[in-house]
Symmetry: C2
Subunit: 385 residues, 2 copies
Amino acid sequence: MNNFEFVNPTKIIYGEHQVAKLDENIPESAKVLLLYGGGSIKHTGTLDEVKKALGDRTVIEFGGIQANPEYEVLMQAVELIKKEKIDFLLAVGGGSVIDGTKFIAAAVYQDDPWDMLLQSGATIEKAMPIGSVLTISATGSEMNCIGVITRHEKNAKLGFSSPHVFPKFSVLDPSKLLTLPEKQTANGVVDAFVHVLEQYLTYPVNAKIQDRFSEGLLLTLKEEGLKVKSNDKDVAIRGNLMLASTFALNGILGMGVPQDWSTHDIGHQLTALYDIDHAQTLSIVLPGLWKVLKEQKSEKLLQYGERVWDITSGSIEERVDKAVEVTEKFFQEMGLKTKLKDYSLNDESIEEVVGLLEKYDLLPLGEKKNINADTVRKILKTQLE
Amino acid sequence: MNNFEFVNPTKIIYGEHQVAKLDENIPESAKVLLLYGGGSIKHTGTLDEVKKALGDRTVIEFGGIQANPEYEVLMQAVELIKKEKIDFLLAVGGGSVIDGTKFIAAAVYQDDPWDMLLQSGATIEKAMPIGSVLTISATGSEMNCIGVITRHEKNAKLGFSSPHVFPKFSVLDPSKLLTLPEKQTANGVVDAFVHVLEQYLTYPVNAKIQDRFSEGLLLTLKEEGLKVKSNDKDVAIRGNLMLASTFALNGILGMGVPQDWSTHDIGHQLTALYDIDHAQTLSIVLPGLWKVLKEQKSEKLLQYGERVWDITSGSIEERVDKAVEVTEKFFQEMGLKTKLKDYSLNDESIEEVVGLLEKYDLLPLGEKKNINADTVRKILKTQLE
């Protein structure tokens, strides 16, 4: 195992009806900006529940933070915070709302917040305190210090991280997931599944605990993911999926191990260019990546195949191929597409993706930094149809 | 899964030669009390390494915190801190030194620190900042907010916990474990193994992630534990064991699941009365506990048997018995004894243990709070010889 530092100060408050605990976790005197996405938290009752928990605190609302939170929208919240002298940010939503809130929390103190994204968060020295109430389980943003922001004007979808933007707390009430559309549930399962794989499916460094924690999450996501569609009102299944997404990207799996993240980096460009849902870009890219890089990843593919999918017979090559195959099939069973053609994309689209990766200086990618423009082309061509 | 709150703000700094990072993790102006146990950190060079990393800071040493840290000794450090106006505590050692340091950090602010133990830490509202350099892997104290203190004068070994005593950071350099006596290594493996079991081996609540994380640690402790004796200079094995001990008791396994801890509560009395090493009390009590409570724990014993020891054939009763049997055998293979007779203890000793549990009002015990004085007698009688 490699050297590492790990810290994660976010408090998790898990369970049904735990939104009431906002009261004891936000300063009594706080002037709160309540950030959310579309109107769903209004008709599910979550907005009322949150406001009730906040009691007599002054609360100002800022709605409209959509999927792939948009720079220009978030900057409006920054202005509002300065004008209203807000001192606590409460994100109510999924990864996009929480990512957006992290950006806002830091952008308030930045001369030019765009630099913060161009430099992956390196310019952040301070941020406002954040809390969250999670209503969509997927990205793990509720318990990490990472955000991804989109700026359509520049065709950009860029990530940043800083220890200053860890949420102080996140409320995980699994019953909030019961009203999610089937597609969002499926996207969440695949997103978390790939988060685990980005940290696990590289090459072995004898990190037995990180490997087994990863496999435990993959098994749980697989089992509960395949069950949730026909059991969409089962809070216990939702609870296991919710906690799996949170732990898939709270830093524990990545301790002292090589990490990949090229599926995300390539996928982000597909979202920036064609507005494809984040998880749906991952389900296209990951199988292609593995097909092209299966030799480099063979030891971990074998281990993954055996421990997660019970693939124990056949030659090494057959078992590796089988591991790739069942994973692509799993994404499809979850209802996600895995081919560019499914979105009417073609060879030209591949060039656009490569162009954007070059423009934002994101190449080379992967745990060995050996994925260059040509490898990206190969990966995406594999998934054309 | 049950409702829970989880937070753990301790930073882990893992790897060889990471002691040097003390410099960037302790305030430059700090006046440091360096706490340790016997002389081993002197002849291994760790004391010099630590002092070098602390640079120009004023450092005062306080040695002599032995296994089962003693109240009267720790109170001397409290006096020293007040006299010398110390403002940072650096524990260099194993669980006993770190536990003792946590007690000291809080006791400085207490009118009567004894109350703090009688009330399990409930009186703690404040504590001095603590860092640690781990040299013995076992208790997990380096990443939790728990301590256990002994007061011989009162035949007491009592635990406390408080969010105020989380270490700010802990340095985990696996090469520090290479010089440990074989007995301490084995004790550490068994201690961590039982920490996992106290949180896992109760009854199922469909907490799939916590179960699989627990099983991942048990498998790692079993595999690496059985290897370490004949590979005692292998840093990779030490690293996996070190991280396993830390994660065995940093709060993650216990999220939203019932917990037992009766093996610890009974074992503590054996240490208080007869000075038996902590882990060695656990290896006596746990098999007895399971033999007596195997019906109550049967579902988890079956799951544990299958996933950790590959016990998949036989009747339910046979598989449960086998799971208990292989666990006791594992402790013995690690070199720990499992019978009271091995320490010349008898029926009278059992009455002394029960007397102490009653004196400190610790009964009833266990995840169902159904272990009373008579059950404790049965458990210990099972392990007489």
